[in-house]
Amino acid sequence: MDKKITQFIQALRNVGGVAEVVKNAADAVAHIGAHLQGPLLAPDSHSLQQAGLKDFLSQAGIEMVCDDFRANGAKAAGGLTGANFGIAATGTVVLESTDENVRIASTLPEKHFVVLDPAKIVSDYNAALPIVRKLHEQWPQVYLAYLTGPSRTADIERVLTIGVHGPRELHVLLLEGISSDFMER
């Protein structure tokens, strides 16, 4: 496996995130199905579409929420998004979240599933810089997120506790061949 991919996986696991290489869409669906109990928020995304994930998930009997995220967000058990790219050094996924639905899917539910094409993992912040700059040049309004592991706090007696306001679990599924587009939105 590419060194960047192993580094990404290790870094993400170090901070309590789940990182799995999946061979195909069916494996991804199996992973999501095994970890999800309830409806799934699935905003439109190029990566998800390429992988045909939504159809597979519906066929697997998972309740898909595809509209009115504000009303449904609080009840959903999970959110599913497609990452723009990953950063190996820190185990970070970068998610263009200007679309409000992407933001809701990645903040409100307890679990957040992200599919990422491993070909889009760059080494570090330096390598991420030109991409981030380009993402800023593309449209005037930008809401961009670097996500590294689950939500955490140490505000009570400095004891690290996972899952305060954001997702308690972050699952990154590495699926080859779904997207080479760093700018997807």
């Binding site: 903040t107 800023h136 930008v142 305060v164």
Partner: protein, 718 residues
């Protein structure tokens, strides 16, 4: 409140804090864990290079603030944001409450923002009948408790889970068990609905990028993402110092901030926001309120302006022995610890900073970890001078400094007289265990050395100096303690130097180095003493000037330059003196290659070493004395926190904060004792006085020695 009341009030709060051993223990434990985690997080990175870069970049912005602010505003407005620059706290509060009233906002959710604490925004909103709810866990806890943050990054670090459970139980109306995981879940459940209901979200920002007109938020909990997403209006309150030119500079801060704040490699979330992003089928209203509130004035202060480099990582509190001892409510106003002292002076007025300025012990632990390369200690010293000018330094001190110290003969005459007068108290012993009446507080927790019968200067002529062909001729700057309290160190020094082929002179016109006056805020006296000492030490044109006291070393190397650098009569000589001044351990190792000069003791006793603050973090010397201990055949056993302050701090431990000093000394003694060594070595007569006095008072059979003594003992007998 007048000055006397204010001081009394402050001392009262110090004593209250000292009565909370559980808090102290928690802060000490946190400091240990933090230090380890931070080291690990920075492994393989060049911290000096990183912080040099951040410092330079921040200076560039500070010196061209109009340019970067205008560029930011143009880009942000182009993306649909509204930008307001508030000159004062009142202007910022008025803008935000006005906006809320106009838009009929009932409920506000907030994510963590120190700037909003700075301007008391919650109070302003409450006065306008608008309910503001803190959503950061720590901020929520202290909001429920009606307190203010005691740490910039971990606002509720002073509270324990039982207290949190009690607050939460009141809120939920159920009995909430004091289990941390459960309490975190309670917060999650309780606050969830609020994000959806709120009409306005208020956040801070860690970075404002001029190049893009966007903000970056560095967070862990995820509440800031909800606060900036769900409500229709987003107000970001941003200190002007948060501006950076370009995205790469933002990355530099994002790289360093979590590592230095908590020892995390990276936070869970970095959120980049620019412009009016979509919100519930409309466009969000984004208002960016830049806060000046004293920042422009700070940028113009030649001595203090570096404080604007601060990225609010909180590290200066984490490592501060005073903070660890009394906590952030006592050692802080709104902003905490070292940087808090400076920001308080500029944002909340010198009056609110004055007690804090005096509570700093000057150990430079903060300077060593600051990722923005701020010399916090120097700035705090400067504020002390300003305070001295504004409020006076106290009649007693003023008299001593101005009338006595500046007149060397009078000063030394009085010290000699004191040596005779103390006789009834010392009963001929070398230490004072009890002092009469109200002075007795000074010996309650440590014995104090007596002033020597004859100061070193009176004995100097009798010391052996036979040197056929001296390698160097060096002048010894003894400093008051070495001269009048520990003259025997001077004997040791001469023996060691002579053995190594060096001739030592002691210019008798030398006077106190001036640090006590400087640290008390009397710059004028410090300047007068600097001039006397430069003239005295250079009179014979020595090859080097050597010292046994690192505080004196820093005075000669650094402070004299600062005091006389602008004076054409003295500047050149002060610079020369600075260049040839060297502490004795470094001198022996580096200039004399002492490698095999000492005889190793046959039965190597374990010795532990205490790093004096000014030697390690001022002069940058810590390896050399360790090498010397090894050269004399000692077994060095490192103590925990070897470079943590011993609590001496000159007048700090006598008059200004003896209670804090005592507690810090006790920590040091525990660390020394835990090594099992029967001797602790150090390179500072001040530390020696403090540590020796504490060990003796507590009846510990551990010797406290200057490294020069140990060197002298290891000279070959002939």
């Amino acid at each position: 409140m007048n000055k006397v009341e204010r001081s009394r009030n402050y001392q009262h709060r110090v004593r209250q804090a000292l009565n909370k051993p559980r808090l102290q223990e928690a802060l000490h434990r946190f400091a240990d864990a933090y230090t380890l985690a931070r080291e690990k997080a920075f492994a393989g990175q060049d911290f000096e290079e990183l912080r040099n870069g951040i410092g330079k970049m921040k200076d560039e912005v500070r010196d061209n603030i109009d340019h970067y602010l205008n560029q930011f505003i143009a880009n942000a407005e182009h993306a649909g944001a509204k930008v307001f620059v508030a000159k004062t706290a009142a202007e910022a509060n008025a803008y935000i409450t006005q906006l809320a009233l106009e838009k009929n906002v009932q409920k506000v959710v907030k994510s963590k923002s120190m700037a909003s604490e700075e301007i008391h925004l919650n109070q302003a909103l409450r006065d306008a009948n608008i309910k503001a709810l803190e959503t950061d866990l720590g901020e929520w806890i202290i909001q429920l408790a009606g307190e203010r943050p005691s740490h910039m990054v971990m606002p509720a670090i002073h509270m324990f889970k039982e207290e949190v459970a009690e607050l939460f139980s009141k809120e939920t109306g159920r009995e909430e068990p004091a289990e941390i995981e459960h309490l975190v879940k309670v917060a999650r459940d309780q606050l969830r609905q609020a994000y959806l209901e709120a009409d306005m979200g208020i956040s801070g920002a860690n970075i404002a990028v001029s190049e893009t007109g966007g903000l970056a938020l560095v967070t862990n909990e995820g509440n800031a993402r909800l606060v900036t997403t769900l409500p229709k209006i987003h107000v970001a309150l941003v200190g002007l110092e948060k501006l950076v030119p370009r995205l790469e500079h933002a990355h530099d801060i994002i790289n360093v901030l979590p590592k230095n704040a908590t020892g995390q490699m990276v936070t869970s979330y970095i959120t980049w926001i620019r412009g009016a992003v979509p919100c519930a089928d409309e466009k969000k209203e984004l208002h960016i309120v830049f806060l000046d509130n004293g920042r422009t004035a700070l940028a113009k202060s030649p001595h203090c302006k570096d404080a604007l480099r601060c990225i609010k990582c909180g590290a200066c509190a984490n490592v501060c022995p005073v903070y660890q001892t009394v906590g952030g409510h006592v050692f802080g106003h709104i902003y905490i610890s070292a940087i808090g002292i400076i920001l308080t002076a500029f944002f909340h007025g010198l009056e609110n900073a004055s007690e804090l300025v005096r509570a700093c012990i000057g150990c430079r632990a903060c300077v060593a970890v600051c990722p923005s390369q701020i010399d916090l200690e120097s700035i705090i010293l400067h504020l002390r001078e300003v305070l001295g000018e504004e409020e006076g330094i106290g009649a007693g001190k003023a008299l001593v400094f101005k009338k006595v110290m500046r007149n060397r003969k009078l000063f030394h005459g009085l010290l000699r007289a004191a040596s005779r007068l103390q006789k009834p108290v010392t009963r001929g012993e070398r230490t004072i265990r009890h002092l009469p009446l109200f002075f007795s507080g000074l010996t309650e927790w440590r014995t104090l050395p007596a002033i020597a019968d004859a100061p070193l200067r009176d004995q100097w002529a009798t010391l052996n100096q036979v040197q056929a062909q001296a390698k160097y001729r060096v002048a010894f700057f003894a400093g008051c303690l070495n001269d009048f309290v520990y003259p025997e160190l001077g004997h040791d020094l001469v023996q060691v130097m002579n053995h190594l082929g060096v001739e030592v002179t002691m210019p008798l016109d030398q006077n106190c180095c001036g640090v006590p006056a400087l640290y008390s805020g009397d710059r004028e006296t410090a300047i007068a003493l600097a001039e006397q000492n430069v003239a005295a030490m250079l009179a014979d044109d020595p090859d080097y000037v050597i010292t046994t006291c690192p505080t004196c070393t820093m005075a000669l190397q650094r402070d004299f330059l600062d005091l006389l650098g602008d004076n054409p009569v003295w500047a050149e000589r002060a610079r020369h003196l600075s260049e040839i001044t060297c502490d004795v351990s470094r001198f022996v190792v580096e200039k004399l290659n002492s490698g095999t000069s000492f005889e190793k003791v046959a039965d190597p006793a374990a010795v532990t070493y205490h790093d004096s603050c000014h030697l390690k973090r001022g002069a940058g010397v810590w390896q050399q004395p360790r090498d010397l201990l090894a050269q004399t055949g000692r077994d060095l056993v490192e103590m925990a926190h070897s470079d943590r302050c011993c609590g001496f701090g000159g007048s700090y431990s006598f008059t200004s904060q003896p209670d804090i000093a005592k507690r810090i000394l006790n920590d040091k003694i525990s660390d020394i004792e835990a090594t099992g060594a029967k001797c602790v070595a150090m390179d500072c007569p001040g530390c020696m006085m403090q540590i020796r006095g504490g060990l003796e008072k507590q009846g510990k059979k551990i010797r406290a020695a200057h490294t020069i003594e140990i060197m002298a003992e290891a000279l070959p007998q002939d």
